[in-house]
């Protein structure tokens, strides 16, 4: 078996809500690491990780206000790799699921493996997981379509309005720059108008949508705003907001397919 270089990389997620959402596997990886690098969104999580392992360093300073987020991601990958190259067992903690909307996590794994280091990612709890629980949606019922909002508009993604649609990062549509506050830029406000127009082509104007934000702290409730499609502009939308659009209209099964599959109605007592 080919011997691996000294030094390794484990990437984990802190989940969304403080302490509750960090998996046992992630917690063990944090506790055992020689060095812990973090990118989490609140000081309570940062402090908790520090209690688990004192050799912690934040990656937050890779962000520079008003600069492209991609620059920050590249800086994070470099710093992560540098620590692995020192021969350390490195654990990186990202907010949420480390593989969902976390470009530097995937890039770091690829780069570390390319250099001959052992690298792995542990799954975590994502905002989508919280949404299913908080809104009460089961993707097994009518399916689920999920797109990043800018990608959805730019590439004119094809979707089925009769299946639930989730659009992420609706507070930063078209905005490739980092902003330290939770307010949305003029560019994003323009993007939101374009998004609304796009959706109006497929849904009734009074179709109720949900603007959702998961709770990050105990004692807090998730933010769930129900509002008609045409009144999106009245909703409070921040950088962490997500749009959930329930299915539009009745679900009609294809009679021909029912016949081909040999399905027969069942009676439930």
């Amino acid at each position: 078996m080919k011997s691996r270089k000294k030094g390794s990389l484990t990437i984990v997620g802190s989940g969304i809500e403080l302490v509750r959402d960090t998996t046992i596997g992630a917690r063990i990886a944090i506790e055992r690491a020689d060095k812990v690098l973090t990118l989490v969104t609140n000081p309570a999580t940062e402090l908790w990780i520090k209690k688990l392992n004192s050799k912690v360093e934040s990656l937050f300073d890779c962000y520079v206000d008003g600069r492209p987020r991609l620059e920050a991601y590249n800086a994070m990958v470099k710093r992560i790799l540098k620590n692995v190259q020192y021969g350390l067992e490195v654990c990186v903690v990202f907010y949420g699921h480390p593989g969902v909307f976390v470009k530097p996590a995937h890039e770091s794994i690829r780069a570390a493996r390319h250099e001959g280091f052992t690298a792995r990612m542990l799954p975590g709890i994502s905002a989508e997981d919280c949404l299913f629980a908080d809104i009460g949606v089961d993707p097994g019922t009518f399916g689920c379509q999920s797109f990043e909002a800018t990608d959805f508009i730019l590439h004119k993604r094809k979707f089925d309005p009769k299946s639930p649609l989730i659009l992420w990062q609706i507070g930063s549509i078209g905005d490739l720059y980092y902003h330290s506050d939770n307010y949305i830029s003029d560019m994003s406000i323009r993007g939101l108008k374009i998004l609304t127009q796009t959706l109006e082509e497929h849904y009734d104007k009074d179709h109720e949508i949900i603007i959702y934000q998961a709770s990050i702290l105990p004692l807090c409730q998730p933010l769930i705003q129900r509002i008609p499609l045409t009144r999106i502009h009245e909703a409070k939308i921040g950088a962490a907001s997500t749009m959930y659009i329930p299915p539009n209209g009745p679900q009609n099964s294809d009679e021909d397919m029912i016949h081909k599959l040999g399905m027969v109605p069942i009676k439930i007592n």
């Binding site: 302490v19 609140n42 402090l47 105990p218």
Partner: protein, 73 residues
Amino acid sequence: MSNQEIDGVSNFFIRIAEDPLYRTQYEENPTKIMDEAKIPKEKQVVILSGDSENIQSALGMACVAYMLVHTDL
């Protein structure tokens, strides 16, 4: 908020998250627990209001301040 105050609020939420008994005590007498946790009075008002958005944005903004201080920018 000062660094010390941010750590105080953070520690309060960590204990609430980790310790069901502490959480029960909070639910029975929130003001007493928050006083013991040295939560600044103005933050107590925000937490007691139960307004998720305000609590999260207060902590979110505090986070930026915290990171700036801790990374010597």
